[in-house]
Structures are given as C-alpha cells and as structure tokens.
Symmetry: C2
Subunit: 580 residues, 2 copies
C-alpha cells in the first residue's frame, strides 16, 4: 500500500530568535526519526518567526535566517522536511524549503500575499509564480503557504492537477473567535474539491497583538478530518496518509478529467523527484489520541491566556502588576494573568480614592484572596490633594469636570508605572473594547501599561468570560459581587457608566456593526437599534481615534481589533454620526 | 501656434471633509475661468483628501466621494478638469477623472500603487491597466497619478508614445528633507526622456504624521523648469504650454522612432477626443512670478510649522499647551507653535522641581517673553512629595532610581493633561528623535501630548533649527543660554544627558545609519564610529520599541520616521547589538 507518515510540528517560535527557533526545529527532527516520520513540516517562516514586520528590511536579519536554514539542512539526514524561511533569490520571498537528506531539493515561493487586516506582506515580499510538485517515496506532494490555500483554483488546484496527492500548507494563521471552524470548513472544501489530502500546519503562540491558535489539521481526499493538533499549545501531529484512497477517489471522481486538469494550470509547474521508492521500513504504531478544542467563550479565554503568557515571557518579564479596582475588567485580567503566569507572578494594587465605595476595596481583597495573589493597597488621596492644590490657581472658579476625574486615573497610572520601574514588573492594562471604542478611558491613566489584555474584548464578553472562568473553577473565583455590581469608574460621587454610555447590551452590538463590520450609521439604525444611541456611539468612536493611537498593544480576538487591524486617520472630518 | 493654458491647483484638502474639499475645488474653478485656463488640475484624491486609510473600507465614504465628484462635474461648463477621486468600477481604484464641459469624458486608474514606507495602497486599491490619452483643444494629454511617474518606462512613456504631448501627474507626495530636489530631478528626466511637458500637481498641507509640501512643477520637453508652485502653501500655478516646441523636439530627437514607440506600449491605450479645435479665444496675460523655496534647515522648519498648524486646526483646536523646561527642545517647539498659530494661541507651563536649576526657570521665562506667550508656573514638589510618601512603604530600603525620576516627568504629564482637559488646549509634546530612538524619554511623562512636533528631528538638527529661527528673527528669539547649556533632563542632582547617552554629535550619525538606513551594527562600526557607542545606541533603539508604540504622532521630516514608516515588532529577539 502506498502510504506516507507525516509529522506536523506545531511549534511556538519567537520573532528574531534564530538560535531558539533552530534549536526547537532540530529537537523536533530528532524526535521525528524514531517515530518513522517520512515528511516533517514546520509553520510558515518558522526559521525567523512570524510576522517579522520591518525586520525584513534589515539585510542582516535575512542573512541570519539563511544561516539558520543551513543548520537545519545539515541535520536532515534520512528525512524530508518542509520549513518556512525568507528566500532571497533575486528578490525577497516568503518561502518553504523542501529539504531531503542533507540537501535543499526545492523551494516554493508564496503566491498569494495577504495585505489586508493585520497583514502587510506586499510591503516585504515578491509573489511567487511556480508550483513545484515533489515526489517523495513515490508520492506526489505539493507545498504551499498559508493564504495560498484560501483561494479556490489557487496553487492547491494547480498542484493537485499536476500530480500532488498530498498538499502541505504551512501557515501562520492568527486566531479570532470563530476562525477555527471557518478554517476547517475551508480546508475540508479544498481537500474534497481537489481530491487530495490537505495537511495544514499552523503556528502556535502569541506575538504582540496576535495569537496563533495552532489547530493544525489533516483532512482526507473526501474532506474528512483525519487528525487535529492541539489548540493554543505546541504539538507534534503524526498521521499515516492513505495515498491509495486518493488514487481510488480520483479514479471515480467525474471532475477528475484530463481536460479540466490542463485548463487549471495557472502557474508554472515542475516535477522534482526526491525519492521514487516507496518506504518499506516498518514503523512504530501510532497511539490514538483525542484532542479537545474549546469553543466560545472558552477559546477566547484560552487565547487571552496564551497571548498574555507569550507577551510577558517572550519580552523577558516574569511578573506582572495589575491595578485592581474591584471591578470586573481588572478581575478578569487578574484571573487571566494567574492562569498564564501563576499566582506568584501576579501582583495586584488597590488604589482607593475618596470616591471608591467600600465594596470596591473589599471586592479587590476577596479577588486577590481567591486568586492567591499578593495585594498592595496604596490610597491616592495624598497625591490627588496635592494636584488640586497645585492646580487651584489656574482652575479657580471653574466647576470640577473630567479634568479632576482624569487626574485620579492618571495618579493610578503613575503609581503602577513607578512600581513597574522600581521592581521590573510589567503593567497589564485592564480596559475593554467597549471603552477603547468609545474613549471611555483615560489616556495615561487606566490606559497605562505595557500590554492591554482585554483591549479587544467587549464588555458583554467580559461578563461571559468571568462567568465561564468561574464555571470551570466550580467556584466564585471572580466574586459574584464583582460580576453583579453596576459598572462605574468611581471618579466622582455616584458615577455610573450609563451616565455617559448607552447600556452595554445596547452599545456592544452597535460597536460590532460600526467598528468590525463597517456598517453605516443608517444601516445600524435600520437594524432596529435606537437612533440616538447609534449616533452617540458612532460619534464617540470617531472622536476617540487619538486615544487609541497611544494605547498599549492588546490581544486580537475578533475579526477586527483596534491596532494594525484598523488604520484610521486621526485628522478626519468624515462625520457619519451627524444628523443629515 | 498650438498652445494650452494649464492651471494647477495646489490645494490643502482635509481627509473626509467632502463639503470643504468640494467648496475649495469649486472656488478654484470659478477663479480659473477668467484666467482663460483650458485645463485645470487638482491633486491626487482631492475629493476625499489623502491618505484616507481605512475610511476606504467604509462603503458610505466611497459613496459620498462619488456624490461629491458629481457636484464638481455639474459645475465644469466650458473647462477641462482633472481631479483625483476614488472610483468603484468593479473594484476600488485610486482614480483621476477627466471632466469636460459638464461630463466625465474619461477615468484613469493609478497603475503603480506604493506599498512601502508610509504607504499602504495595496491594502485598498486595485491597480489600473489602461493608459488613455485625451485630445484637448487638439493637444494630446496623458494623465497619471503620483507613483506612476516615478517609474522609467511607466505609464508616462506609454502615454507619450501614444500621442501625449503633455503629461499631467496629480500627486500626494509627502515631504522629507531633500525630497524636493530629488523629485525635481526625476520629473526633469521623465520630461526630457519622453520629450513631453510634465505638469506635476502636488498636494499641500499636513495630515497626521505627513506634510505634503506643494512644490508643484511644470517641466518642458527638454526637462527645464517652466513654472513652480509655492512651498508649504496653497497656490494656483498658471502657465502657457508651447506644444509646437514639443512637436519640433520630437521631430529632431533620434529616440523618437516609430519602432521604439510600439515596443514600449506596456498598457492598453485608448484615444479619447475631448475637443479637436485649437483654442483661439484671447487670454489675459500672465504676471511674472518668482517663487522662493527654502532649503535645509529652513524647509524643515517650515514643514514643522505647517504640520503643526494643520494638525491643530484640522482637529478643531485653537490653542496649544507646551511644558517649558528651559531646554532647547521645548524652546524650539514653542517657537514653531507661535509661527504656526500665533502667540495668543500658545500657552507655556513651567513646572520646576527640586532638581531644576535656577537657569531653567529664568530661561523659560525669557523664552516666553521673547515669544510673547503666556507662561504659567506650577511647581511639582507637592505632588512629588505626595508620591514619595504614598510609595514609601513599597520602596523602603531600595535606592532611588529611574522610578523616582519618572514620577517627576509623569507629574508634569499629568498637569499638562489636566490643563488640557480643563481648557480644551492641545498638548504639544517636545521630545526629539534622538530621545525617541534611544528611549531617553518617559512614557506618559514628557512623551505625553496629542502631537509630538519634533519627534522626527534629531537633537543636532534641533540645534540647527533653533539657530536658523534666531537668524531669521535677527535676534535671540530662543535665548542663547538655552542653546548653549549642556542638555539635561534635570530629574536628579547634576544629571546630564551624556551620563546616559553618547554625545549627540556621536549618537545622531549612528541613529541615522541604524534607524533610517538599516545599516548593521558591524557596518556602522566599519564607518569608523566608536564600537561601544554603536552597540549601546543600537541596543537602546531595539529595546525602546514598546515606548514608541505608545507615542503621540509627530511630523515626518526624514526618509524614515518612527510611526507608520517603521513597523517593528515589540516582541523581538533579534539583538544585533550583542557582541558576537
């Protein structure tokens, strides 16, 4: 029987860490040999990490990537390897090397370069225009990269119609909620349409605002899931591919006609014979495994944990510091941080003011107790009083307003940063997406921090995640008093969020439509949502761009996050929210 | 004699201000008619402003742009107009409408879409593939857009070889120091190579981090400058083009052979006849004018003034607030602000601390006096003392370090923001590029502000600009005591910048090579610069990315500014600075 044992290494690389990434790759190669793996694959740009952004403009970065590739090639005796790297043949390419037994036998250049959303690949790469098909142990293997497989009649089809029975797609596909199912349906369609086995090797790990979720998959020629990688964890997925089944399916598939095949050759194809002889060595048997994947909201929670863990650790921090207000946002961030880093690496600071309710302080204390984290308490009254005195002359005769409110938030920001500077702890900001969208947040105040964990999480989702975490714990890890209280910034007497914003269950659907779906104000009103709330929300979003521009990075969990994903000018007179 | 009177409207548009931009365009049309202008041109995307960034993802933005274009068309009787807009024929295009006498007679789609540096045009636009040539008053006119003319054998050549005697290039080419001369040489070459008159209509004005410098130019078929627009100002450049001269030059040019012409048709061409009859109406005679353009450092200074003026005014502010330390950075920013907005719209705040030298306070006072701006003085000791007391317990037994220094900077940031919140004044941050590069600046402290005027200006250039401004004034507008003192942050006793950084005359060339030219550490050392200083500077640049990510926007004046122009990951283990 014609078969191939594939191993997909779903590894967590670090951008620019050539030594560390190479070590991880070499270690996996060593693990693969005793498992009898014929073809071992690694994610897109595994050599240098993804996305390297403007590091690609540094020639020395590209050179080091090539030297690193050489090291892998040297250690590839007796195995075939697909690994992503930056190629420099006459231009710069996002490339996949096919390595066999100590030699590079072929290089594929990514054809479809994503240049939307968070992606800027046209900024760096030239597009490829060749679709080689490799013969490995007598089996046709096509290799392509990430975006390439998202297109119908793309490189996958050219390769399949040129003899590829297996399509290896090495990928760095970032997470957003719902994407795994979307990706799985697409890969299934691609496999069955092309009557080929599709092996999709995704990256895993956090890189600045992105989390790569892993979830690598192998789908058979009928589009059925053969094997699945872990979600948000490193993994080595090993599977035996039944190539006879592909042969039989093509024999019986009416679409599989010579004429069609020739018509679909959109790119130049070459055949590269790596090894013709079928592999006959007996292989150790593979253990059965069942991979659990979580869905909303658990997948969002897990993404936030991994994104936080990797941002903190990859940037060389051990401990984090969180301002605990007694509210749900900081409560959720603290629980994520504890799950990411362990209780001993999370420090909470309560910074009560004259406007803090007694409940806020006791709630922060209870939370810290439940999470077993250290809690410091630093009342801000002294500094607040000092500012009011220093500003008494210029502010004389003017009623207190947002200026005095923001002073308090900025004192807290200053205390967090002072502790960070003194002890080397990274400050996690606790603002959510509803606040970031509407600007209901203080620049340099509660926005202060190195990383904004729930920046892309709407307030209504914050509630869901808190309840989810408690249900997993089977206890009130995040106290119910925190979950049930009315949201308030507590920066003036009796303040509540609904004094300024529409209620969150009304606001959040507006924000999703306006920010993530580019719906117009008129379209959102036509959805049956209160006109006044829609206009107000849109106006707040439009006029808060300047704040977001100075926000810390945070983890993307929706189809459109603030940050690289949404690039609006600050200077912008396009005001949709106005009455027409 | 075959001739054409062209008018190039170098206008200052606002992104998204459809009503305002249309009004400006219509006003110019009304001015053009009595001047006998046959062909009136406007900059790239003049209808919607440039660059609109992700506003282009909003269908309602594109629709309003089309409605605005219709208004222009309605008012175009008796004149030919070229204007930039967003076209939506089957896809989204960066387009130029050729309008004549109440009708759109042709549309050109930009072929070369810049997707490097500050540009992301592949994110939004489909590339065009047609090069129409219009016949206006019997004269061949080719229209193309910005980047299109930067390519040898690009659309300009196809159009010239297809009968265009005049090439109109509508443009939004952003300023950096030295670019005007570079652009002029390129346009001159393009004109003489194609034996065509080139009329380059550039945008003018500030838009977030970009300043468009105007400097529109007309070059004759021998590449000689015929007319020039103002620099950093709106202008209407009117010139009579001698088409007979083009005809004669082509007759005698050995390169102008039929075979060559046919070979160079890289894009599909069509001929669109707008009007065959030569214009015979007598036209008013044109006044002679001499346009003065300034060179380094005056052009940089003027760019900063326009960039500041437009950021402040286009965002609806009147007044700005600047923290005056008595140092040269804040002194320069204050003088730029006064030149941009007038003395009455600039407020200075001196915020002395226990470490401020007496000279700093008197220098700030003298500066405010010289610039005729209001100066407030708010000592920060009270708040500093309050923070030290609040943090006494956690900081107990630990020596003062950067934590205490940063507290002072952040108190100042907080005071500036409080005044901003109270009075609605925009805070101008005063950090320079040398500080931004090395991270010698406090996040949320001296980095606080809505706009960072000299963010892209190196410290050595700051000195040049201060001396330049004084030489223009013919007096010590910026006091010489400020210019001559040793740079210091004054955040601890006897502190000087050179305690932490290499001297600026050593540091700045390293930063230019490393940041702007992507030279490797080894290459910079090989330039003969002290190895220790190079490694130290590179390490500081690499480890400060997280600060820059939260910096306010500032004006680009070099070939590579921080911001959109340079997109590095924060999580990045590529450490060039380490000893190998």
């Amino acid at each position: 029987m014609r078969g191939l044992r594939i191993g997909m290494a779903q590894i967590n690389t670090i951008v620019g860490d050539f030594a560390g990434n190479a070590q991880k790759i070499l270690k996996t190669i060593a693990e693969a040999r005793p498992l009898g793996i014929d073809l071992l694959t690694f994610p897109e740009l595994a050599i240098c990490g993804y996305p390297p952004e403007d590091l690609l403009l540094k020639p020395q970065f590209i050179d080091e990537n090539l030297r690193s590739l050489d090291k892998i090639v040297e250690r590839s005796s007796g195995i075939s390897i697909v690994v992503g790297f930056v190629d420099t043949r006459s231009d710069i390419y996002n490339a996949a090397a096919m390595i066999h037994d100590g030699k590079i036998v072929g290089i594929y250049h990514k054809i479809y370069l994503p240049n939307y959303g968070v992606f800027d690949e046209n900024r760096y790469f030239q597009a490829g225009n060749e679709c080689p098909v490799y013969t490995i142990a007598g089996i046709g293997v096509g290799v392509n990269i990430c975006e390439d497989i998202w297109y119908e009649a793309g490189p996958t089809t050219t390769q399949a119609y040129s003899g590829a029975e297996v399509i290896v797609n090495i990928s760095a596909s970032p997470y957003h909620s719902g994407k795994r199912n979307f990706r799985e349906r697409m890969l299934s369609t691609r496999a069955s349409d092309n009557v080929a086995i599709v092996a999709h090797n995704n990256l895993v790990g956090g890189q600045d605002e992105l989390v790569f979720d892993g979830n690598s998959m192998i789908l058979d020629e009928k589009g059925r899931l053969l094997a699945r990688g872990k979600q948000f964890e490193e993994d080595l997925i090993v599977a035996d591919l039944d190539i006879e089944a592909v042969f039989r399916a093509r024999l019986h598939d009416p679409r599989w006609r010579k004429e069609a095949l020739l018509e679909e050759q959109r790119w130049h194809t070459t055949k590269i014979v790596v090894s013709e002889e079928p592999h006959t060595t007996s292989k150790p048997s593979l253990p059965q495994r069942q991979i659990q994947v979580s869905d909303v909201p658990g997948d969002i929670y897990d993404a936030l944990v991994l994104g936080t863990q990797d941002y903190v650790n990859k940037n060389g921090f051990e401990k984090v510091l969180i301002g605990l207000s007694g509210g749900i946002d900081s409560g959720l961030v603290a629980s994520i941080a504890v799950d990411a880093l362990g209780s001993s690496n999370v420090v909470g600071v309560a910074m009560p003011s004259r406007y803090s309710s007694p409940g806020s302080i006791s709630d922060a204390e209870l939370l810290a107790h439940n999470l077993s984290i250290k809690l410091m308490t630093i009342p801000i009254e002294k500094a607040f009083q000092a500012y009011l005195e220093m500003l008494a002359a210029p502010f004389k005769g003017i009623k207190p307003n947002v200026a005095e409110e923001n002073i308090q938030a900025r004192i807290r920001g200053n205390i967090l940063m002072a502790l960070s500077n003194k002890f080397g702890w990274l400050v996690l900001a606790t603002g959510n997406k509803s606040e970031m969208a509407t600007g209901y947040t203080t620049l340099y105040g509660d926005m202060a921090g190195g990383f904004a964990v729930i920046k892309d999480v709407s307030k209504t989702t914050v509630y869901k995640l808190a309840r989810y975490r408690n249900s997993v714990a089977g206890s009130e890890l995040i106290p119910s008093t925190i979950i049930n209280k009315a949201p308030s910034a507590e920066l003036r007497p009796e303040q509540q969020d609904i004094d300024t914003l529409p209620p969150y269950d009304l606001l959040d659907p507006i924000l999703t439509a306006y920010v993530e779906e580019d719906k117009s104000v008129e379209q959102i009103i036509a959805m049956g949502i209160d006109e006044k709330a829609v206009r107000r929300a849109a106006r707040l979003v439009d006029t808060s761009e300047y704040k977001r521009r100075q926000a810390p990075p945070g983890i993307k969990i929706t189809p459109r996050a603030f940050g690289r994903d949404r690039r609006l000018p600050i200077t912008n007179q396009f005001k949709e929210s106005a009455e027409t």
